[in-house]
């Protein structure tokens, strides 16, 4: 194993750093390219706690080969790798559940696809592994010059693997492409982006039409560096079949529905990667992927079902690694067409008290999940309000609140939930309905297959529904979904909520942003538009020969720090 990766294993004094995500982002924003973690401190709020890949009660403790340093600040980029890596012929095999349709990041936001092209195409800026902060990558630093101008200073001396230089011109080309892309339309409204100005060879300035702070989040999610000449020459579809970037690997072979092979980029700007070949094998069935892992056919498998935990824990060759996820399961109350009772917030609070989230986490998810903390944001996300806590499980209080609201004898509530779309969604639906029934509400279960579920959602006839929503870890993409008139709004949180969120999206100062989001979270807690349930953790199966694996909250596989024995 190359010593250079040690930095990541030992770095950061292993400080948990969630509340401090704010400071980290600030630090990054203030241009600390490879900034050392001096200002990290212990984080500001009491929100600290478990952010790094946590091994849960059922899972083993995190093995030594797994990076637990957790959130990293501005200095995500490891020190340069030694040339001696060129001698290595090491191979790494990854099991995938599906074959990508394209490897062009402009056309897709699917994390499973990005898990492949992320090794080929590099980001200008990138979410830290915990999702709590945005760090520089190909851009050495980024800074808001004013409310509508973002300056990116680029790393120098980097070129694409076809020889094109990585410079401000290529950054302009890339940002233009992403800002116009349909796949990213939900992150960046059409009236936001104006243009990118090439200041000099290694400085680009993004100009916006109006203040829009989530632009950073958008860049961290999309915003890979594209080679302008090659991209323009072959077009977006062909680029998706044969992408070229600045990354540590290049695409060598792609056999549809079978495997994708990446070869090391010997001239990588940060030194050659210790692994010579990475192969992605497509194994759709979960159990087959698990078996391949056990027999050593593959070294790494992503997004395994909870039922895999016991098997992995019993294995001598494979470790189970869990990492806080972002798919948030909640029962969204429809107060617009739903029963009259739901209009009373005491009823909605009562329902939040009626469900034992911890028992669901321990029972159904075998510990590999986190209860939602009485708010939409997950603990590790920037925008989480540490002063709000989980609705406790309190049947008596729930019944009392229902009685107070005049529903001591309960009311009819239809609950629609997805079946077969997400792991454990059917069980989750059944158990939540059972809990609600126990406080006297007459629940009518309506489990739906996802196709029907989506079409009813589009028709607007879904009613109160339970499902798992996965949104990028940028607060505006989360809070913004519940403002008046937005896509996921099922309950009117009022003008003040919409105003706060809109205001936050205009503040480039992260402190100000956070204060506004905290207020919005409080409104959402006091007048809950949903029954906050659980956030399942992502489960990875990792061979014991793999070193330095760092799971990421955005579910993107990131092999920059990985080595194999």
């Amino acid at each position: 194993m190359g010593q250079h990766w040690k930095w990541l294993l030992t770095g950061m004094s292993r400080r948990r750093f969630v509340g401090g995500a704010l400071a980290a982002t600030l630090l990054a924003a203030c241009g600390g390219g490879e900034s050392t973690p001096t200002a990290t401190g212990e984080g500001s709020g009491g929100s600290g706690g478990e952010t790094a890949p946590t091994a849960t009660a059922a899972a083993p403790t995190v093995p030594a080969n797994i990076d637990t340093s957790g959130s990293t600040n501005g200095g995500l980029v490891p020190p340069k790798a030694p040339e001696s890596n060129l001698q290595s012929t090491k191979q790494l095999t990854v099991g995938m559940s599906l074959d990508p349709t394209t490897l062009n990041p402009v056309l897709t936001t699917t994390a499973a696809y990005q898990s492949i092209y992320a090794q080929i195409l590099e980001q200008l800026v990138i979410f830290g592994p915990d999702g709590g902060s945005v760090s520089p990558w190909l851009a050495e630093s980024f800074e808001w010059v004013d409310d509508t101008t973002l300056e990116l200073r680029l790393r120098q001396g980097i070129s694409f693997t076809n020889g094109e230089p990585f410079d401000a011109e290529s950054v302009k080309f890339s940002i233009d492409a992403f800002a116009a892309a349909k796949a990213y339309a939900f992150m960046i409204p059409p009236d936001v982006y104006k243009e990118t100005e090439v200041v000099d060879e290694y400085t680009a300035r993004v100009h916006l039409n109006r203040p829009y702070a989530p632009f950073i989040g958008f860049l961290a999610r999309g915003g890979a560096a594209l080679p302008p000449k090659y991209y323009a020459e072959v077009g977006e579809d062909a680029f998706g079949q044969q992408p070229i970037g600045t990354g540590p690997f290049v695409l060598a072979e792609w056999v549809k529905d079978d495997h994708i092979t990446l070869k090391r980029n010997d001239d990588y700007w940060n030194g050659p990667h210790p692994v010579a070949t990475v192969t992605y094998r497509v194994i759709p069935e979960d159990t087959a992927r698990l078996a391949a892992l056990e027999t050593g056919e593959i070294d790494l498998a992503m997004l395994l079902p909870v039922s895999a935990l016991n098997r992995l824990n019993a294995s001598d060759t494979v470790d189970a690694v869990t990492h806080p996820g972002l798919r948030k399961f909640a029962l969204h109350f429809d107060t617009k067409t739903g029963p009259e009772a739901l209009k009373d917030k005491r009823v909605r609070i009562a329902l939040n008290l009626a469900v034992d989230k911890q028992a669901i986490v321990d029972g159904i998810f075998q510990g590999a999940a986190d209860p939602m903390e009485g708010q939409w944001e997950a603990r590790q996300e920037f925008g989480f309000n540490p002063n709000i806590s989980m609705f406790p499980y309190d049947v008596e209080q729930a019944k009392a609140l229902l009685a107070e609201a005049g529903y001591a004898d309960g009311f009819d509530l239809q609950v629609t939930y997805t079946v077969g779309r997400y792991p454990q969604d059917k069980e989750l639906g059944e158990i939540v309905c059972d809990y609600i029934k126990q406080v006297g509400v007459n629940v009518i279960q309506r489990p739906l297959e996802y196709g029907t579920f989506t079409s009813l959602r589009q028709e607007g006839t879904l009613g109160s529904h339970q499902w798992g929503l996965l949104l990028p870890p940028e607060p505006y993409f989360n809070y913004g979904n519940f403002v008046q008139g937005s896509a996921y709004e099922t309950h009117d949180l009022g003008d003040e909520y919409s105003r706060l969120v809109d205001e936050a999206s205009r503040r480039t100062d992260l402190d100000e942003q956070l204060a506004l989001y905290h207020q919005a979270a409080q409104i959402m807690h006091d007048d809950p538009p949903m029954l906050f349930l659980v956030i399942p953790q992502d489960i990875y199966g990792v061979s014991k020969r793999v070193r330095g694996f760092q799971p990421r909250t955005d579910q993107v596989l990131w092999l920059f720090t990985v080595d194999v024995d």
């Binding site: 028992a359 077969g420 059917k426 069980e427 059944e430 279960q445 196709g451």
Partner: protein, 300 residues
């Protein structure tokens, strides 16, 4: 001969009595059939028990009892077949599931029988274009992979008990039509049909009063065998998650739910599976015995 003389002495009409007696004798002679019949009677009895009788442990989830081991293994009688992923009693859920499983298979068989028999009788009796249309439809249906058809139809009609019944009936009638058609073909030229026609009987009368009773035995045998295959198909559909949805319970759905945890809690899958195997086997054995009983070549 003794049966005949006995009934003669009793002054009853001899033929009918002796035929049914002989048939029952053939039917009841093997111990497999007797056990199967008893088992099916018990199943039907269980299915008739009102849902409210089952204990709460069958409905109410209790996460502290998740995947509790079967009482069978631990020598206790509570949670005899263990608990499922939500801590519900598998034994009582299987008993509860009997009702819907048998109801779906039974009603679907009834409808398939009615549609298939009517089509078969009409095709053989009227011949011409009616026969043409029915036969081609039957060919199409029989050439189609049944499960695929069922899945497509359920997806189109939506998931509910009634849609599963409709779909099963639609997929199962063709088998009847073919058998009944050929059975009827050999009858329509017979003298009693001729005679009925000559006396001016209308087609409907001939079909229902003269032809139907004569094909009753293949219908009965087919229905019994069909019930078994419908139970299997319904289980497959429920297993794939397209059957009746919670809180409704069928055996196939129980297997589908348990499948994810086969590694940790095999009992949630094994016991519903055994229930299906035993019931299907029993229906098949009873069907076979009935076929033998109705076959004039079988001797007592």
């Amino acid at each position: 001969m003794s049966a005949l003389s006995e009934s003669l002495r009793a002054g009853r009409e001899p033929a009918v009595q002796s035929v049914w007696a002989r048939r029952f004798g053939v039917f009841w002679r093997s111990w497999e059939t007797r056990i199967s019949t008893l088992l099916l009677l018990v199943m039907i009895g269980v299915a008739l028990v009102p849902t409210s009788v089952w204990p709460d442990t069958a409905f109410d989830s209790n996460l502290t009892l998740r995947h509790r081991e079967p009482g069978l293994l631990m020598g206790t009688t509570d949670y005899l077949f263990g608990a499922d992923a939500l801590g519900r009693d598998v034994f009582f859920r299987i008993l509860m599931g009997t009702k819907l499983t048998l109801l779906i298979a039974g009603l679907a068989t009834l409808f398939a029988t009615i549609i298939g028999s009517a089509a078969g009788l009409c095709a053989a009796y009227f011949r011409g274009w009616v026969d043409m249309v029915v036969s081609r439809l039957v060919d199409i249906m029989l050439a189609f992979p049944i499960l695929l058809l069922v899945l497509a139809l359920v997806a189109a009609l939506g998931q509910s008990v009634s849609s599963v019944i409709i779909v099963l009936a639609l997929s199962g009638w063709a088998g009847y039509a073919r058998v009944i058609r050929s059975a009827t073909l050999s009858l329509v030229e017979r003298e009693f049909v001729e005679a009925a026609r000559c006396t001016g009987a209308r087609s409907g009368h001939i079909l229902l009063r003269h032809l139907l009773p004569n094909v009753a035995s293949p219908i009965l045998v087919l229905s019994t065998l069909n019930l078994a295959s419908f139970i299997l198909t319904e289980s497959s559909v429920s297993f794939l998650g397209l059957g009746p949805q919670p809180p409704a319970v069928t055996w196939g759905a129980l297997i589908g739910d348990g499948r994810n945890y086969m590694y940790d809690a095999w009992w949630a899958t094994l016991f519903p599976g055994l229930a299906i195997i035993l019931t299907v086997l029993a229906f098949n054995l009873v069907g076979d015995a009935m076929r033998d009983a109705f076959d004039p070549h079988t001797r007592q």
